[in-house]
């Protein structure tokens, strides 16, 4: 059993699913599970953390924590870690978690295993494995020296357990000394899209060069919206200007592991496969029967995407309505 500290992540007053993954995994392993909840006006979120198995929620509130601040997060978390002396500190490998965890590691003078896709608790430590070369291989991370073990875990890697309304966590108020800040988040500018983020979505529908234009991505978006999915794109599609870079899946874009990845008109260049091969179920739709994407697809459909994608959209709509 380990004493585990998980850094909760939230946006717009809602906790992230990836935080529940971490809390659930720690609690399921029988660990003493602590959660750090930083922000302003966030105390009410502690209750939900309890239902996923958190034992104690340390709430640090300060106006400087209202929006994510790398320096303020690092200062408050370093203090908290020194107070409660956890064996393990975990955060999600999200734009927030991946930003502050290296700084926290430095303050605690320990190493960090980032972007891990497997996590096992062993005694008071952890065993983690992470992709290298964007998933062309994986490696186990050995922590050298003493001190807490720090890791960031890729979203969707562990899965979310079921909450138990009967469980609750003890809330503890923590003094938030944010220190002298040299940088500040002025505002968060919302994205135009209501779709989930490609790295967080349970389903991703991606399009490649075969889409031929930005406008044709409407059929990909139509399918994605029926499935509540994110829209992804290959490097070729992004380089051709069909989609913004933030949608790019691959070694020089986002690395994703959704439950379902539907690749439409993507041949499967090695750098694309690197970004999505850990997806649980992969569907490939391509006109070329020899396309490399079929080598890793669970379901291969040799077909013209312009013919089949609208049909899939209609058929999925029927299932969703039932």
């Amino acid at each position: 059993m380990a004493k585990v500290l998980i850094v909760a992540e939230h946006r717009d007053g809602k906790l992230k699913k990836s935080t529940f993954e971490l809390v659930g995994a720690s609690a399921a392993a029988g660990n003493e599970t602590h959660v750090a909840l930083l922000g302003e006006g966030v105390a009410d979120l502690a209750k939900e953390l309890g239902t996923y198995g958190a034992n104690k929620v340390h709430i640090a509130q300060n106006a400087a924590l209202k929006l994510y601040s790398a320096e303020a997060y690092t200062a408050v978390l370093a203090d908290l870690a020194k107070t409660i002396s956890p064996d393990v500190i975990l955060a999600s490998h999200t734009p927030t978690g991946r930003d502050f965890m290296p700084r926290l590691a430095r303050r605690l003078e320990v190493g960090l295993a980032s972007d891990c896709v497997t996590l096992a608790f062993e005694g008071s430590g952890i065993k983690v494995r992470r992709p290298v070369y964007s998933g062309k291989a994986t490696a186990e991370v050995e922590f050298l020296g003493a001190g807490p073990r720090l890791a960031t875990i890729r979203a969707n890697a562990l899965g979310v357990g079921k909450p138990d309304a009967g469980k609750s966590a003890e809330s503890i108020t923590v003094t938030a000394n944010v220190g002298d800040l040299k940088s500040k988040t002025l505002e968060v500018v919302k994205g135009a899209s209501a779709r989930p983020d490609v790295t967080e979505a349970a389903i991703v529908v991606s399009g490649g060069r075969a889409l031929k234009s930005a406008d044709n991505f409407k059929i990909i978006e139509g399918l994605a919206d029926v499935l509540g999915a994110a829209v992804g794109a290959s490097r070729a599609a992004v380089d051709a200007g069909y989609r913004p870079h933030r949608d790019q899946v691959g070694q020089t874009g986002k690395v994703v592991s959704p439950a379902l990845y539907i690749a439409c008109g993507i041949s499967g260049a090695i750098q694309h496969l690197a970004g999505m091969r850990t997806s649980k179920t992969i569907v490939a739709i391509n006109t070329a029967p020899e396309a490399p994407i079929y080598q890793i697809a669970d379901y291969g459909v040799v077909s013209d995407l312009f013919a089949i994608v609208p049909l899939l959209t209609e058929d999925f709509k029927k299932i969703k309505e039932h």
Partner: protein, 257 residues
């Protein structure tokens, strides 16, 4: 301005990765090494800032084995003025590398701004920028898509999830980690490639920048290649039949929809 860029040399994106004999790492034989793509953006941003501020210099720094001097030459060919190579072991971790880079920066007379890529495409750890900033004692903004330069501060557009951005203001000196979209890196011209071959690369050893074995905090081991996937199911028929069967399979077999 005294502008610095931290770069890393990595295997080309088309590299097929093979493991070494005891799976303690990869087989580096025959690998084509390149300047990490996000670091190209960092070099470009440094050069553009120099071009807007007369009398500025851009210094490129890389920590790694001797081979990384090739990547330094690439950055020099793009237009960097000076270069520093800190020689550290092949398998140095992020902490060791960052301490070495920060150590080299601390030896410089004045540092106004440091650029780096948001991550390197080999280990993809996305740690080194933040660690360099911590070791140096300056703020750091990561995953930056746009920069507004002020007299003694910066406003950075930082990409977060769901297509949203955080607008982050930071005092200088600061480290900015570049994301694709910040700029379009230039190609080196032939005369610049020739000139870069003759430029001096200042060499430092780990001991010169205060780094030692104890700075190694993690180690990668037991490398594995992704398990080969069992042949998938081919769905035949006309598009309507294929669509029906795929929807059924995803709903009833894979249970993902």
């Amino acid at each position: 301005m005294n502008i610095y860029v931290c770069i890393k040399q990595v295997p080309d994106t088309e590299t097929k990765i093979k493991l070494n004999g005891d799976s303690s790492g990869i087989d580096t034989a025959g690998i084509k090494w390149i300047l990490s793509p996000y670091d190209e953006l960092a070099v470009e941003e440094a050069l553009r800032l120099k071009e807007k501020n007369a009398g500025s210099t851009v210094t490129v720094i890389s920590a790694g084995p001797t081979r990384v001097v090739e990547a330094i030459r690439t950055a020099l060919a793009m237009g960097c003025d000076n270069a520093i190579h800190v020689e550290i072991p092949e398998n140095a971790d992020n902490n060791y590398s960052a301490k070495a880079l920060a150590g080299a920066l601390k030896k410089e007379a004045k540092v106004d701004i440091v650029f780096a890529g948001k991550e390197a495409i080999d280990d993809g750890a996305a740690q080194t920028s933040q660690l360099v900033a911590e070791y140096f004692g300056m703020p750091c903004v990561t995953v930056v898509l746009g920069i507004e330069y002020g007299a003694s501060s910066l406003k950075c557009k930082r990409e977060v999830e769901g297509g949203a951005f955080e607008m982050v203001e930071t005092a200088l000196p600061a480290l900015v980690a570049a994301q694709k979209g910040l700029n379009e890196p230039r190609y080196a011209s032939l005369p610049n490639i020739m000139k870069a071959k003759k430029k001096e690369v200042k060499g430092l050893k780990a001991a010169d920048v205060g780094v030692s074995d104890g700075d190694q905090k993690i180690k990668y081991k037991n490398f594995q290649l992704p398990p080969p996937k069992a042949a998938g199911k081919k769905i035949a028929g006309d598009p309507a039949a294929q669509a029906k069967e795929l929807v059924r399979a995803l709903h009833e077999e894979a249970k993902v929809v």
